[in-house]
């Protein structure tokens, strides 16, 4: 045993490593660590020996070679002559896109379902209970497939909308739900569009400044300024800018005449994205609903009663008294739900969504045969993203947690 090399000290006997509870756990941990390191070393040397025997090596040179394949959903410029690295980047952005969309909708769904599950209305609370139980007890993979199949089977082929005499008209002249996704009008930016956007951003700042100003005045002087001015401040300047500059921001409807196969132009929310996004949202939303419910129930009933006796309406009790306190209980498990969404998004390939696992870990891995390199990169990516999410959420958690004075 490795511990034999330890010189025996005064009043310390070797047998104490096993018999003395002060040392015993260290002994076992030490042994476990050695075993773990040995196994890792064995696997590593095995890996390298086998790679050498097969004439393979570890090299990331392939990342700068042309990828050779096309990707159907890209947030940045990409074609088949772009590098594998760029294909990976396209995948990363797609992962982040669907994960952030799903985090937002899952949170909204979860909060609504969690609050309503505690509703006194029997039907509403039972419906929410049904949602939670049905959705979190079916694997997310099944949900992805199911929603994907549903879109494929329920939408018309884009052909129905095409040509001179389409069998279907676009909804409101700009929306078409097809079995390949949802086509929507896209925003076009003419000259001066930047100014309109800047004006709008400035109005947001101004509107929120107004809101805090109203609050401050109320607390300081007891005078209630008109809070509703928030909305005009927010909207009016941008509309004015848009009108004055001659409507630089426009909408362009999808074009049904340009191509014989597909609707062109506009904005397409592709079927893969829809399926993955909805599936991750409803699935994770069910878990978040439970976290929210637990959080609310953790708030002492006295709080609700006290608020009620102050004359607050139930909606305000929830928003102003209960939820802020419940947040402390909700946030930590919420972090792990966000992590789950990000990691579960790697099931994208089931519906052909081009996330990082599908590009780098799928097609690139396959076409180059660089399995170990790609898998290591994938691990690095998910690890980094997960740690980042945790870090950000922990900062937020600190900001809402009980400040001990």
């Amino acid at each position: 045993m490795a511990t034999l090399t330890d010189p025996p000290q005064e009043s310390f006997q070797l047998s104490m490593l096993l018999n003395d509870t002060r040392y015993r756990s260290y002994t076992f941990q030490f042994i476990a660590l050695i075993v773990l390191i040995a196994i890792m070393a064995y696997l590593m040397s095995n890996l390298f020996a086998n790679l050498r025997a097969a004439g393979l090596n570890i090299s990331y040179g392939f990342l700068t070679d042309p990828a050779g394949y096309d990707i159907n959903q890209r947030l940045i410029e990409y074609d088949s002559q772009s590098t594998h690295l760029r294909a990976a980047l396209v995948g990363i952005l797609n992962t982040l896109l669907v994960a952030s969309m799903a985090c937002v909708t899952a949170t909204i769904l979860g909060v609504i379902a969690g609050v309503l599950r505690l509703s006194k209305n029997w039907l509403v609370s039972k419906l929410m209970a049904f949602y939670v139980e049905a959705f979190r007890n079916v694997p997310v993979f099944i949900w992805i497939l199911m929603i994907g199949t549903f879109v494929t089977l329920s939408g018309d082929a884009p052909k129905a909308f095409l040509g001179e005499n389409p069998s279907r008209e676009m909804f409101l002249g700009g929306f078409a739900f097809t079995n390949r996704g949802l086509y929507m009008p896209a925003v076009t930016a003419g000259a001066g569009a930047g100014i309109v956007v800047l004006v709008f951003l400035a109005s947001i700042v101004a509107a929120f400044w107004w809101r805090s100003h109203v609050k401050k005045t109320l607390f300081k002087t007891g005078k209630l300024l008109p809070a509703w001015v928030f909305w005009p401040i927010l909207i009016v300047p941008a509309i004015l800018a848009q009108l004055v500059l001659g409507s630089p921001l426009g909408l362009i409807a999808p074009d049904t005449m340009a191509n014989r196969f597909n609707i062109q132009g506009g904005l397409l929310l592709g079927k893969p994205l829809i399926a993955l996004w909805l599936a991750l949202s409803v699935y994770t939303g069910a878990f978040i609903a439970e976290n929210v419910r637990a959080g609310i129930q953790a708030v002492n009933r006295g709080q609700t009663e006290a608020a009620a006796s102050l004359g607050l309406r139930p909606g305000r009790i929830m928003n102003l008294v209960v939820l802020p306190q419940a947040l402390r209980v909700i946030i930590p498990p919420l972090i792990s739900q966000y992590l789950n969404i990000t990691k579960n998004s790697s099931l994208a390939i089931a519906v052909g969504y081009a996330d990082i696992t599908a590009t780098l870990g799928g097609i690139t891995l396959n076409q180059t045969g660089r399995a170990i390199e790609c898998v290591l990169l994938l691990m690095l990516f998910y690890l980094t993203i997960s740690l980042l999410i945790s870090a950000v959420m922990n900062v937020y958690n600190k900001s809402v947690s009980l400040k001990e004075r």
């Binding site: 097969a54 159907n72 052909g352 097609i363 076409q367």
Partner: protein, 340 residues
Amino acid sequence: MNKSVVFGALTVAGLAAGAAAAGTLDDVKARGKLNCGVSTGLVGFAAPDASGEWKGFDVAVCRAVAAAVLDDPSAVEFVPTTGKTRFTALASGEIDMLARNTTWTFSRDVDLKFEFVGVNYYDGQGFMIPKELGVSSAKELDGATVCIQTGTTTELNLADFFRANNISYEPVPIETNAEAQQQYLAGACDVYTTDASGLAATRATFENPGDHIVLPEIVSKEPLGPLVRHGDNEWGDIVRWTLNALISAEELGVTSTNVAGLGEKANPETPEINRLLGTEGNLGEMLGLDADWAKRAIAVEGNYGEIFEKNIGESTPIGLARGLNGQWKNGGLLYSPPFR
């Protein structure tokens, strides 16, 4: 948590690079079974029939090798592989050989370190499209949505073809042929592209095959053949010469019906048949097998021509003509090196 992730990945990686070593023949003999990678289901090439038995053109190659090596054409464990999983399965030693519509390319041979032992089907990539779309040439496919199997040469050829013709398309990557077929029939894509043989096989299973046409353009060369790992040349030789035996048998007129008779004793007028069937010389011994190895391989489903006719030929629903896959004497490309 980090530790267990790294740990798991290393295990996978370690295993993946595992059994790359030589000695496949001994392994197969010791196991008493040949592990043969095939497709997940492509009627005519490799698919389980109603009773669960694997049937098809690629399956026949596996059975011939099993008969040659193990004297039992049913001693095969068929491992279904997708375009994505097939190479890992072979590299890791999960399968001893791969017979799955796999194109012989430079990088698969040289970079992925595999050994293509020959070509059992000369193919090329084609496009299938519903007749009602009124398309008559692949060059008219601008803007189309195209279903492809991911991890294939198809995916890369497709990008090249559209790029070269300066037209655009939307790829829909899919894992298996079955799923691609379903998506295509549901109208989730306008076009399905894969090897022309695969298109014919897929179309044959449609309810109304006549509603779909295969466009005239063949946009690539896809020599499909069985492959093994680099580095075990003895095993590679066995698979290579089993395939050659099937091809030579057709050329020499050895069939499943006459192989037993021809192999009984040497006929001085047909020395090559004698050497092939082991009644003369010691070719089997050179391979590390016995003298009757080729006789057994041919007896399973017959020579190359018989296998072709039975599984994918003109009398089957798939209805492929011999074309490039005829014997060299008939203007085809099949040309087995001599048995001597």
